[in-house]
Amino acid sequence: MENPLKEGLGARRRPEPFTFVIFGAAGDLAHRKLFPAVYNLMVDNWLAGDCRIIGVARRSYKDQEFRQEVGQAIQEHSRRPPDKAVLDKLLANTHYLTQDFTDADAYQALEALLHDPDGHFPQNFLFYLATPPSAYPIIAEHLGRVGLAKPQDSAHWVRIIVEKPFGHDLDSAVALNQDLHLVFDESQIYRIDHYLGKETVQNILVFRFANGIFEPLWTRQYIDHVQITVAESLGVAGRGSYYDQAGALRDMVQNHMLQLVSLIAMEPPVAFEADAVRDEKVKVLRSIRPFSTRDVADYTVRAQYEKGSVDGEIVPGYLDEPDIASDSRTDSYVALRLLIDNWRWAGVPFYLRTGKRLAKRATEIAIQFKTAPHRFFRQTDTPELAPNLLTLKIQPDEGISLRFGAKVPGPEIRVRTVNMEFLYGTSFAGTPPEAYERLLLDAMIGDSTLFTRKDEVESAWALVSSILHGWQRARGPIPTYESGSWGPEEADLLIQRDGFHWRRP
């Protein structure tokens, strides 16, 4: 039916009324991120219809107790000031179900709760797995058994958001995908990587493809190398038992950093649509040259932090942290060199590094351009010019800077390096939405562009697993670095071999 009133109105990003079921609702993620995100979406009027929340977890709560806790979490962690009317509305539609995820009967109770007797909430369900990963296949299987995994008809929808870590290696990721696919279609599965919800990460695509001047330079002809840094000043901070099983490669590189690589290196998609964007990202991941055992030794560095000083405080070494095995070989730092074997990037190295207890918290992508082909100013007082550098600052100080040479005023030719800088915080004042707000809203309206697809996850794990296998075979001691430094000497050597050096963010 033609609708003359819809023409020119633009797509509405408002979900239909639905029920948001959070498994693991008593946990930290739900309290710090999910409830505040839903509240902020309501305050900002993105949730037009009603949204009912059902929290599910093993801990025993009555509805009222749970509501109190949710209200408190929102007040503590929301970026928006308390709005009583909105909060009351959210809490009035919040319920809790005490449930052991392995208990089949409990899913019958959930099914009964979801079938709203007065029909106020249509049968649209968004499930969120904020549980330990071992529970993912169990929950999915039970949802399938009680008939909650499929929409009742084409007018309704059922979607499931899966938190990271999505697998522990390639085999476990493939197995988890298979388990989920027994119950859900790929189009229903939203694998979340909160980095993709960050404004600055989304701006990578806008910067590259909405501006005419950068894309022609975005090739091996003009780019010398790329450095991606995700540095944290914190240690394992109460997550010791999880982190010691994961390490920096699994925790940061497999997901966040390879997402950044694919956004920087991808070809222009045919449209800003889920599959078009993800097709191009997958092509990048598949083009990354696999690591042989020798490559792992030559082009990767793992390390653990030692005791040192961060922000003026003496902090313990990795092996002295709580819940860390004294003989742990887990990486709290990784540096590696990637090569992307495709037409655009052949011969351009991508250097990645991430670590805990580094000198400062900083996430950035630095694109270093080749120097001018002819040293026109070599007879002058400034023969060596720093190459042009484009830095995309993801956090903190979100923005973009471009380094170039400028003439120092005076009768001689002297060149000094200067920066042109764009700062998000000053050009766009106001608080941007949290990553979880954007991603939850996308899942609510069924836009999976910013979620990772099955083949994306598996391609990333294939690369990371080849490194993990290489490390398993290595028997030597693991390098260390002082807390508060910029990482081990071995990482400096890795990049210096190619004639470069790490930036100081």
């Binding site: 609708n3 003359p4 009133l5 020119g8 408002r14 037009a48 709005d83 000053t426």
Partner: protein, 339 residues
């Protein structure tokens, strides 16, 4: 970071002096430190009483770092003069080695006497080059001869609020903007988004579609008798549904349009025993499909009483809406276009 407001004022300024004073105001207040400028647009405010708008200008600059040029013009009298006040918002203490940041600057210019007729000349040099520039016309629409040709080389976009004066009074300004290819942004059109969205959504339902396509009667309720709420959105509805009736008095061979007083804005579209009732409640816009006084379906769009500053902030973020231009071309400006 600490944000500080630096105030500077001077009476009887000669035109070019403003431009020469401006770069020195912040360094003089900060012991010679030269700030980096962060402003991303020029926003002109044509106002009657600058004092009333100053506070609003500061708040707008909080969300849209801008050079705000607040202009009040009082022609007549023998005293030709320009008084200027500058309020610069500067962020200091940004970390060692980092210069202060000039976040926004509000330049309030009051023009008196003969020079008040030439205010565009005084404004031109103060527009920040290569950045978007908007002029918000907050007073009554200009009548008669006006140098739109000069204005269009100064400001790219004109902002109006067609709720402040009846839409037809803006016609000359709208025609000029159209003629001179200036983007036109209307705060009241932006406020009508929920109205348009809800009716468009309801149109997907057979009963609602039938009511809207051929209503017997439309009743528009407003607290003020002389107010026709969301006039531009009303024109949109009339155009899109082919009613071919403009603003009141609305003439149509079969649709009877009536106006009534009520406590809030409401629109009731009736066809036989079916009605669509759109109301603006404190927490949301609600649209009810009613059959024999029973609500059979409800649509709603929450809203949170935005202030004028929120409205403008949103408008500046969203930018020009081509649908607004199209609506005006097919309704208010139809004769201009045909000609």
């Amino acid at each position: 970071m600490t944000r500080r407001i630096i105030h500077w004022q001077q009476a009887k300024v000669r035109g070019p002096e403003v431009l020469s004073h401006l770069p020195a105001i912040v360094p003089e207040a900060l012991d010679g430190a030269t700030p980096i400028t962060a402003t991303v647009m020029t926003l002109g405010l044509f106002v009657d009483k600058p004092r009333q708008w100053l506070e609003l200008a500061h708040r707008i600059a909080e969300s849209h770092p801008a050079r705000i040029l607040m202009l009040s013009s009082a022609p007549g009298g023998d005293d030709d003069r320009l008084d200027v006040e500058v309020y610069a918002a500067v962020e200091t203490e940004r970390g060692s080695g980092r210069p202060p940041l000039l976040f926004s600057e509000c330049i309030a210019m009051s023009l008196y006497g003969r020079i008040a007729n030439y205010w565009i000349d005084w404004v031109q040099p103060l527009i920040r080059s290569d950045l978007p520039s908007y002029l918000w016309w907050t007073t009554a629409p200009p009548e008669g001869r006006f140098r739109w040709d000069l204005l269009r080389t100064t400001f790219q976009s004109l902002i109006i609020d067609s709720a402040s004066h009846p839409l037809e009074k803006w016609q000359l300004l709208i025609e000029a903007a159209e003629h001179h290819r200036m983007a036109l942004l209307d705060l009241d059109w932006s406020r009508g988004l929920a109205f348009r969205n809800l009716l468009a959504e309801a149109f997907e339902t057979e009963e609602a579609r039938q009511i809207l396509e051929t209503p017997d009667e439309v009743l528009v309720t407003s607290p003020k008798t002389d107010d026709w709420p969301l006039a531009s959105s009303w024109l949109w509805l009339s155009w899109r549904l082919g009613w071919q009736m403009g603003l009141p008095p609305c003439q149509h061979p079969s649709i009877q349009v009536q106006k009534a007083e009520g406590s809030s804005h409401a629109w009731r579209f009736r066809r036989g025993s079916w009605s669509l009732v759109l109301t603006e409640a404190p927490d949301a816009w609600r649209l009810h499909l009613v059959h024999e006084q029973q609500v059979t379906r409800e649509w709603q769009e929450p809203h949170a009483h935005p202030s004028l500053e929120d409205d403008l902030s949103r408008l500046l973020s969203e930018g020009r809406d081509p649908l607004y231009q199209e609506t005006l071309r097919h309704t208010l400006l139809e004769r201009t276009h045909t000609a």
